[in-house]
Symmetry: none
């Protein structure tokens, strides 16, 4: 009987080795499998070369009973995974009727032709179960072979994640005896880096025996997970989560796995309140994040991207004397931006940011990374000043996270 | 004699497989080696397990003459790379006097003790050349063994990059007699999917013999690369690029590797013209993309995120009767949005989008994925209607790309 406790990933795609793309599959898969107690033992990243794919798959089949292969399911002639896998298993490649119908229907709705190249995407290894792809056109596939499970997933990260979460993880959860196997507590943290969190934990001799910590970091946000060892009971796990929350204080914004923009949206929605944004250095990023959440139109009214100084004056009512005296990146200006967008849009909250994202434009007094953030509300305006390290993209991402965090604190 | 034309990377570290870190080494190394005409053939990512490191190294030594191993050079007991490599080569591990002196000097300046754990970092494989690490404490190492070169580099990305650029790349450049320019031609394409491109190529018996095509797709953009086989001369390569551009027509937005937002920005900047945006379903994404380019403040004035209908009327001057009659997602409204933001901001171009990103809000007549796009300019307004497949994020990404493409066509 298969236990599916050890897995290997085979990532195919020339772009992963030529300097064009970072391979993010291993992190995502490792994180998802880890929650099920499955260890990802290896990721072998190779080009779209049929013989190499075959050899690597043959070797992996000797070592583990769960193999995930990403990439090479598209319509072009460098998409070779289907055929390579079929060869190794001594099977043929066949057209999947359901996938073909789905493909045809999608193309019809998009008003595009279903040409022979596109039709290739509905081809699967003989005996495979096609796994629908909510994001892209090529379905994933699940194969079973001599007690081993082989999954073929599309290469684009959004599609890989969609098929993984919709099909692979639920199937594995069932095979391994249900999701009950997963006992963990999660803290979503904003404003502390992984190293800071580790430092605080170590200083307090945390975690206690029987608890293991794990971290997953994105820009400005860290997910702290507490896993119990088998003999640890739920009470001890809850006590550890409580202690971790104490140690991290205000930086914990949720006791669950949730994005800050979804949490802020949930709070606004529950209260029937609304938000408008005024963005300078982030150029629309905060609005983009807020509207990435489905249903956000019930609380997010919109905003002004006031990249040029004239726009700050004309569209947000920033005082041109104050602007000239204090400069665009100043507490005085960000406060007027927040108030301006709040009153202009008739929103309950006005959230504003202005800063120097670099790499140009820094001075001794106002260095690259300097950002002012403000939230205007019925009770007045609350403002913060930050200096973020990193490059342009990092500074913008931090600014967005800190702005949402300021709003969250105001809402809480 | 060694040619060092094919390389493999072995990335060690539990954090790369457990969901904590993304492995960025492969991209960086692939990019750097590519410039020297060296192909990175494989990245094998494994945990810090001595036996696995040994096996993977043995296998790699059978395939290529250039191997880079990252990670496992630190002070803790899961740093096993030195010993594993020494075992495979039948050598011992010795203390390197120069590295030890450097370590001692650094510790002295930092006022920290040089304890035995830290001293481990000055140990190298017998016969190795130590490679100084400007960022961290553990030096890298270069080994030569039976005509093969093996590099041991520290795992933290900043240290990996520092040692790579200071020691590995200069050494390889010298070995290979200078940097051989990578022979390829690139077409950046927007508005045709990979499958469409393949279809057009196949219909025209493209590519000719001696040329190999490769594709890399992101949302709404495809990079088509033409690689010559060794015997193919530059003239034939140029002719093939010319023919590919003919076949793809208007969809080719650049004969180089460039993001659409950077190209649009370059055109605006050259002409001293300006842009303002009005976004509904993308919620700020277009502004965010435009301002991701450093220096964009010289041509991007800002925009209105008109997520709520009231905002379209109040901030963009959309006629409320037209809005009620045609609906927010309509050609009439997107035209008024584009004109509104252009005149309001005093910009040369006004770019507007409105659509249904889903998953809610679709109807028979106006399905999820329906998007209207318009650009207002001195000569009037140009509008387009699209129905994009995919989920919310995909529809928004496509909308952004198509909007920038419409603006690009107008600029061109």
């Amino acid at each position: 009987m298969s236990s599916y406790s050890h897995a290997e990933l085979i990532s195919t795609g020339a772009e992963l080795l030529s300097g064009r793309s970072v391979n993010t599959h291993a992190r995502l898969l490792g994180e998802r499998l880890g929650r099920l107690g499955i260890e990802l033992k290896r990721d072998t990243t190779i080009s779209d070369d049929s013989l190499t794919i075959q050899r690597v798959l043959q070797e992996a089949l000797q070592r583990v009973d769960l193999i995930i292969i990403s990439g090479g399911l598209g319509p072009t002639n460098d998409d070779l995974t289907r055929e390579a896998v079929a060869d190794v298993l001594g099977r043929s490649v066949v057209s999947d009727e359901a996938s073909l119908r789905a493909l045809r229907e999608r193309m019809r709705r998009a008003g595009r032709p279903l040409n022979p190249a596109r039709e290739r995407q509905a081809r699967i290894v003989e005996g495979a179960m096609a796994l629908s792809n909510a994001v892209g056109l090529a379905p994933g596939q699940r194969l079973e072979h001599e007690g081993r499970a082989i999954f073929l997933l599309p290469g684009p990260p959004a599609e890989f994640e969609a098929v993984l979460d919709e099909h692979v993880i639920p199937w594995l959860t069932e095979q391994r005896g249900g999701a009950a196997a997963l006992r963990e507590r999660v803290l979503s943290v904003c404003g502390l880096a992984e190293a800071d969190i580790v430092q605080r934990f170590e200083g307090a001799n945390f975690p206690p025996a029987g608890i293991v910590t794990a971290y997953c970091a994105a820009a400005g946000r860290v997910e702290v997970r507490l896993h119990p060892e088998p003999h640890t009971d739920d009470e001890a796990l809850d006590a550890a989560a409580e202690r971790a929350a104490e140690l991290l204080g205000d930086a914990v914004f949720a006791r669950e796995r949730i994005e800050l923009e979804a949490l802020v949206g949930r709070l606004l929605s529950e209260r029937g309140q609304t938000l408008a944004t005024a963005e300078s250095c982030t150029g629309g990023l905060i609005g983009e994040r807020m509207t990435s959440v489905s249903g956000s139109s019930s609380y997010y009214l919109g905003g002004i991207i006031s990249y040029a100084d004239d726009v700050k004056v004309a569209e947000l009512g920033v005082d041109s004397d104050v602007l000239a005296r204090e400069g665009a990146v100043s507490e005085a200006v960000v406060r007027q931006m927040a108030e301006g967008v709040r009153s202009r849009f008739g929103a309950d909250y006005g959230l504003a940011v202005t800063g120097i994202a670099g790499p140009e434009g820094g001075t001794e007094a106002k260095p690259v990374g300097l950002v002012h953030i403000a939230v205007a509300h019925a009770g007045g305006v609350t403002a913060e000043r930050h200096v973020f390290p990193g490059n342009r993209a990092t500074i913008r991402a931090w600014t967005c996270r800190k702005a949402l965090m300021l709003l969250f604190r105001q809402l809480r």
